[in-house]
């Protein structure tokens, strides 16, 4: 275990814990958009900034900083508060329609952004470029169907050539993980539409209930877990029902 000081109180956490988690352990919530426990540390949104005062004095992104013995952290240092507020102000001006960001900003005491961008075409923007969708698709699913395009202020997320990603398996993990709801997944008939990726996936009908579902993720799961006997060929809903029925019967 490692002992560090957070806001003048000692906290003990296992070695290798990220500072963001240690701060949570201490009962303090920091704003954060780009961190996900299941993904590698990334440190892009810079919302989770805290001040460390020992072993040296610096502002650090807590989500990429592994704890160390004797670390002294102040989440309420004026510089840290100011850094978080400015990041939120800028994200608010980037995505003025996002409720998630507005609420997060309010919690940090920011109600309005001073940095209204002159360009009007950006007002519908919801993406904060946290990269969670790209990383979940690459690191966890392994489909790597989407990626970043361009750089600097031109950076965006999208499918290759902004068009129908052949690698997309329609699992919807990106839509699930997106913190701001920038990715909408819609099923229409036998089509699953991911507008953000200009991508459509053709669904299969469930042999049990006739509802449409995408068999691709199941196929991969089946390959990963061949030892588990389950109803792989039906839709997830029917699978759940069948499995529970089987279990009840066994009881």
């Amino acid at each position: 275990m490692i002992t560090l000081t957070i806001n003048r109180r000692p906290v003990s956490v296992p070695q290798g814990t990220l500072l963001l988690k240690a701060v949570e352990e201490a009962g303090i919530t920091l704003p954060s958009l780009c961190h996900h426990d299941a993904l590698a540390p990334y440190g892009a949104c810079r919302l989770c900034m805290v001040m460390i005062t020992a072993p040296y004095r610096a502002l650090v992104a807590s989500c990429t900083y592994p704890v160390e013995e004797g670390l002294v952290v102040e989440t309420d240092a004026p510089e840290a508060v100011q850094a978080r507020r400015l990041a939120l102000e800028f994200l608010m001006s980037r995505c003025p329609r996002s409720d998630v960001i507005r609420k997060m900003a309010e919690k940090e005491g920011v109600t309005a952004s001073r940095f209204g961008m002159p360009s009007t075409e950006q007002t519908d923007e919801l993406c904060v470029l946290c990269g969670l969708c790209v990383r979940v698709c690459r690191e966890l699913i392994g489909a790597a169907a989407i990626g970043f395009t361009g750089r600097g202020s031109e950076r965006r997320v999208g499918a290759p050539f902004d068009f129908q990603s052949d690698a997309c398996i329609g699992c919807g993990a990106c839509a699930e993980v997106c913190p701001t709801g920038a990715i909408q997944m819609e099923d229409r008939g036998n089509q699953r539409i991911l507008r953000a990726w200009n991508t459509r996936i053709t669904l299969s009908a469930c042999p049990e209930c006739g509802r449409f579902f995408t068999p691709e993720p199941t196929r991969f799961l089946k390959k990963m877990l061949p030892e588990i006997e389950t109803y792989w060929e039906v839709c997830p809903d029917c699978r759940r029902q069948k499995t529970s029925r089987q279990w009840l019967n066994a009881q």
């Binding site: 810079r46 900034m49 100011q82 400015l86 800028f90 001073r114 990269g131 750089r151 202020s153 950076r155």
Partner: protein, 628 residues
Amino acid sequence: MKIKTPSDLEKLRDQGQCMLSPQKPRVSVGMATCGLAAGAGAVFDALRQAADNLRLDLTLVSAGCIGCCQEEPLVDVRMPGFGRVLYARMTPEGADRLIRSLASGELPHENALAYIPEEGSDTPKSAEVLSGLVPINALPFYAKQHKVILRNSGLIDPQSIEEYAARGGYKSLLLALLQLSPHEIIDEITRSGLRGRGGGGFPTGKKWEVCSRAAGTARFIICNADEGDPGAYMDRTVLESDPYAVIEGMTIGGYAIGASQGYVYVRNEYPLAIDRINHAIERSTECGLLGEDILGTDFTFSIQVIRGAGAFVCGEETALIASLEGGLGEPRPRPPYPAVSGLWGKPTLINNVKTWASVAAIIRKGPEWYAGIGTKGNAGTAVFSLVGKVANTGLVEIPLGLTLEEMIQGIGGGGLAGKRVKAVQTGGPSGGCIPADLFHLPIDYASLTQAGSIMGSGGMVVMDEDTCMVDVARYFLRFTMEESCGKCTPCREGARYMYAILTRIIEGEATPEDLVLLEEIAMWVKEASLCGLGQTAPNPVLSTLRYFRDEYDAHVREKRCPAGVCRALIKLTINAERCTGCGLCLRECPVGAIRGKKKAPHIIDPDLCTHCRTCYDICPEKAVEIVR
């Protein structure tokens, strides 16, 4: 021929010696990119043509950069028995005349700049023949220089491994492989006090130590040649002029940390550097100085050149590694540092071109020798590209600790065309502008940092009274905006907004509150960004705000640009008394705003004029005036 033993190397060296001082004239032209830009290609062709015509038997060499780029195209002539003479500002016609003289056994006076003393010999005969000619190190430009990294630059044929060997090349590798243990090499580098020349100034020995101790099986060496700072060309020149020095340094590094593969990541805009280093790698491999069983030992080391693709951020070490791995050049948080977890997660030793080029010199001459150059904590020499509004532009290598004054007024010869020097920008987009009244500061890591700039990789851009500091700050923010990878919020959004404020300022539309906001955002970007690019991007703004606040105030409060640069805040007129009516401006004005009859004073139509200052720049009579 494979070099396996000390006597093999001796043979290579002898061959090189014969090439450097042949029994016939040796004419070498500075053909690095800077020389080529000045027209060295045509001079080279003219020399060959003239020699062919006169059937003059000579060795014609295309060499690297000798440093005083201002005087380019440069031709270095060695007549047997006369020593070496450097000819400056050559033209194809001059080249023709030069060959004629040489053919009749004479050294011409025309265009002679200085003679180059040869090691261990007295005043050469050329100095007697060409009376009044000084040795090159007596020129103000060279007087205070000390060449370690550029020890061979411009003096040898960069393609020739023999000539490199003749100047002591590969002695260090021999010493390292046959007589020193990896640990002893690291110790020597540590004791030399060498610090990374890529900008950060991290102690090189310490980095090697950490890397050699890091856990892992494979290890890699990387040479960072992604020189991205605009207005700087040190690394390009080293690769183009003395590629073997970099290779030798990397090979020694590979032996010291136990790596068998090295990479040179070269900036895309440097095609000639890529050719030269590739050629040098091929030759070294042929000679058994790269590849398997180097110098008859069981040490194996290869080097591969990787061409960058136009992204400044790839100079940052973690982004460079990401780019090598085939991803986009996006930095990641450190630690872990590359020395512990770099390419493919393996310990990776990454150093700058100039750092690598210093290694062989240190091993050969000893750490004490190196530590004796420069000042305490700032050992050795550093290369600077002295450019901008300065009389003598060029590549300069100085012992650290020389003052900015000695650099800019002494070596650089002061302002351009008698203009007053106002500031110097060091460290590129990560650095700052240091005002002329601080030119007493020594050039070392701490002093420049304290002054709000950084030592950086060696860019030194001189600015004079005609340079607007607000415009310069905006220029750098635009650079950051275009080169930021866009990963983290402060750099991506902050730089864009700072650029927007600076644009308002130069357009005369900013308020005093904008200045407060500008500073607030700058501090945040500096402290909250993920990588060095964002963390240093505000420096040009912060340093100009610190030293040239009056210029900001003039723009904001008086809507005036004191330097006469910002288009929205100036007007141009033609002084009728000076105008001779030559019509040059009339032809060159991009919007056709100038009218006038031949030989009569011209006038500028204020409604059409876009204040681009083209006429101001080109008027031979200096008749165009800026109303500020």
